[in-house]
């Protein structure tokens, strides 16, 4: 990767993460006093960061393809022996894409939160955590080496924990936060081992060095091990099988959190990581297959779960897991550009739907069960319109962004001879459209099913504006990329390589199939849930016990509980009640007891009689004389 570094760009890279960091610091210390101004300050700072990002990226794009790279060295972070790591920032088209998504969507979500969290007494804290999250996420994608990336990785994990458990007085929320943190920790630890191996093999964590010399330094097996370890981290963060269990529970956090962290940004960090490290994965080959398989399985698994959920946010959660699976499918097929485009599109429409769901929940006075909703399109027209746009985008209806992403993916699958992937991907697309349709129908169409729905009201403008902007974004992004070779993928090429394309079904045929599948599925969903002609309750009962199983995530949680959690708790109990109480305390108290007893028995030597002391003295003297006599 040659690169004349782009100087003024490089000089101002630090501003992008620095602005939200400043926001976090200020609101952390002064949040309570600022009141609602905390939110406004935080939002302004993220918008400012977006502005800088935009300027920087536009500047970057004025340069020709090969030289679109800017590096900024902030300071020497670690310098031990021969091992050096700098706090370095790197801007290429890959990280450029990410920062625009993060700051852009992040800014809109902050704006939304000003309205959503307006009555919360701790909103200062909330915005501090949100800004902190944006800072860490930016560091994650702007890092020029794995350590800065890992810093951001851990940081977003922390902020996720803090924000999921934001309403910590409700015990379930604290549990959910803990679950999220611990589950991702498993992945993070494996990833750390991967980083250690990288240091071992390369002596550095710098991207340029590693990706430049990986071909000659790593054997296939070494690359496989490292890549799989890194992917383990991605599995955790992006909630893929088998570590997907934390994401549905993470919906306990406020809805803006779900939108920002668990839809648009943090969960996509895994995808970013793999795309960034694609050199290692490609040397391995096996690793890419693993990624592909995991993606396929997860996409299908999560889609089946999404169909059976009643909580509107949980539908979206499982949907996110499923869509992330799609992104990994693309990565596994080496279609990195497609994967990144999918990421961008998904960020837009998923954030949109989450914010819309938040709007619905707000209007329904904190009711989240879709069975209590219905007919909300009359009371909340703006929410309905924007939400539907987002949903249709996800379902893959042209000319919205999701269609292009999904179509591109299936096209790659078909053209590279991966028929199984193509078929399964299409099935998953059908399911996706179905649960989207179900969600929209149950929430907005038909008759109102409860009092809360009767008295629902539209949300404030400060919450609606982001919805509208995101909806526009969904359309625009779609237009930017009208084929797998669209503008976005092309921009990414210098970093990720071109997407290999072969031949298969013709492009129009594929488009036709995709659209047909989407529309068919939506129509079916409308027939069952929206038209009022089918008794949904009876329908569900006929599908039991699969329906309940699907709703409960196919009992993966329960399995983990039995196999891992309970034994761990038993072990903890054993350690604390037996080992700690008896052995360690026994030893410590035993020593104390020993001292006490020896003292109480030893003190009897002090008889108080001078004569005994004199006797002992004489005894000692005789002894010493004896020694001297024997020796000499």
């Amino acid at each position: 990767m040659v690169g004349a570094l782009v100087p003024h760009v490089a000089g101002s890279l630090w501003l992008i993460p620095a602005l939200p960091l400043a926001g976090a610091t200020i609101t952390l210390f002064a949040g309570n006093r600022l009141g609602k101004w905390a939110g406004i300050l935080a939002t302004v700072l993220v918008f400012a960061s977006f502005g800088v990002s935009l300027a920087v990226v536009l500047n970057l794009l004025t340069y020709p393809g090969e030289s679109r790279l800017a590096l900024q060295h902030l300071f020497d972070w670690i310098s031990v022996g021969g091992f050096r790591v700098g706090a370095d920032l790197r801007l290429d088209t890959l990280s450029a894409t990410m920062i625009l998504v993060i700051t852009g969507i992040g800014a809109l979500i902050h704006l939304y939160s000003v309205g959503y969290m307006a009555e919360d007494p701790r909103q200062g804290r909330f915005f501090a955590y949100m800004n902190l999250f944006v800072f860490f996420m930016l560091m994650l994608v702007l890092g020029a080496n794995y350590l800065v990336l890992y810093l951001g990785w851990e940081g977003v994990g922390l902020c996720s924990y803090l924000l999921i458990g934001f309403w910590y007085t409700v015990p379930g929320n604290a549990e959910a936060a803990k679950k999220a943190f611990i589950t991702t920790r498993i992945g993070d630890t494996l990833m750390l081992v991967g980083l250690a191996l990288l240091v071992f093999k390369f002596g550095t964590l710098d991207f340029e060095v590693i990706f430049g010399t990986a071909g000659s330094v790593l054997t296939k097996d070494a690359a496989t091990v490292i890549a799989l370890l890194l992917f383990a981290g991605a599995i955790g963060k992006s909630a893929q099988l088998p570590l997907q269990v934390w994401l549905p529970d993470a919906m306990a956090g406020p809805t803006p959190v779900s939108a920002l962290i668990h839809a648009a940004t943090m969960v996509t960090a895994g995808v970013y990581l793999v795309v960034r490290s694609h050199v290692l994965f490609e040397i391995s080959g096996v690793a890419l297959t693993v990624v592909l398989v995991v993606g396929v399985v997860t996409a299908l698994f999560a889609a089946t779960c999404a169909i059976a959920q009643f909580d509107i946010k949980r539908v979206l959660a499982y949907s996110t897991i499923s869509q992330l699976g799609y992104m990994f499918i693309a990565v596994g097929m080496r279609a990195y550009g497609v994967a990144m485009f999918f990421l961008v599109a998904h960020a837009c429409y998923k954030a949109l739907m989450f914010l819309g769901a938040g709007s619905v929940i707000h209007g329904m006075h904190d009711e989240q069960d879709m069975r209590q909703m219905g007919g909300l399109r009359r009371a909340m027209p703006w929410t309905f319109a924007t939400f539907t746009i987002g949903g249709l985008a996800q379902a893959g209806v042209p000319p919205l962004a999701g269609f292009f992403a999904k179509d591109a993916l299936l096209e790659v699958a078909n053209h590279t001879g991966r028929e199984v992937v193509f078929v399964l991907g299409t099935i998953a697309a059908f399911l996706t459209a179905f649960y989207i349709g179900r969600m929209i129908c149950m929430t907005f169409l038909g008759r109102t099913r409860s009092d809360a729905a009767e008295h629902a009201h539209e949300s404030q403008p400060v919450m609606l504006a982001p919805l509208v902007l995101l909806a526009i974004g969904v359309v625009v992004v779609g237009i930017l990329q009208l084929s797998p070779d669209g503008a976005v993928t092309q921009a990414l090429e210098p970093v990720v390589g071109a997407t290999a394309l072969g031949a298969g079904l013709s492009v129009p045929a594929l488009i036709g199939m995709a659209v047909a599948v989407a529309l068919l599925s939506l129509a079916l969903a409308w027939w069952i849930y929206g038209s009022g002609r089918v008794d949904t309750v009876a329908f569900r009962e006929r599908l039991e016990p699969m329906a309940t199983a699907a709703q409960r995530g196919w009992y993966v949680d329960r399995a983990y509980d039995v196999v891992i959690v309970q034994p761990a708790k038993a072990l903890a109990r054993l350690t604390s009640d037996v080992f700690d109480a008896l052995v360690i305390d026994g030893a410590v108290n035993g020593i104390g007891g020993l001292v006490k007893r020896s003292a109480s028995e030893g003190k009897l030597l002090q008889t108080g009689f001078v004569r005994t002391y004199a006797l002992v003295l004489f005894f000692g003297a005789v002894l010493v004389l004896g020694f001297i006599g024997v020796r000499g």
């Binding site: 003190k603 009897l604 002090q606 008889t607 108080g608 009689f609 001078v610 004569r611 004199a614 006797l615 004489f618």
Partner: protein
Amino acid sequence: MRTPIAYFLMLAGILFAMGTVGVLINRNALRIFMSVELQLNAVNLTLVSFARLHNDLGGQVLAFFSMVVAAAEVVVGLAIIVSIYRRRRTIDVDAAREMRW
């Protein structure tokens, strides 16, 4: 002088041992003190014997000093015993056992 010097030294040793026994066995402070004087005398005898053995008058001089100091010591010691008696009405050394467990 035909007697081997070692005999004098043995005598001194025996007297010293008996003095020690007296120190350890007696409870009357005065008797203990007297036993200490016996010990001191045994040591003086040793000194003089060695002076004779090595033809060195220094031994006798040292014994002389020992006697002087012993005299001073007896004076002070008896004064102490007297004042202890005044305070406690007894000179039984077993009575002074407050510093016990």
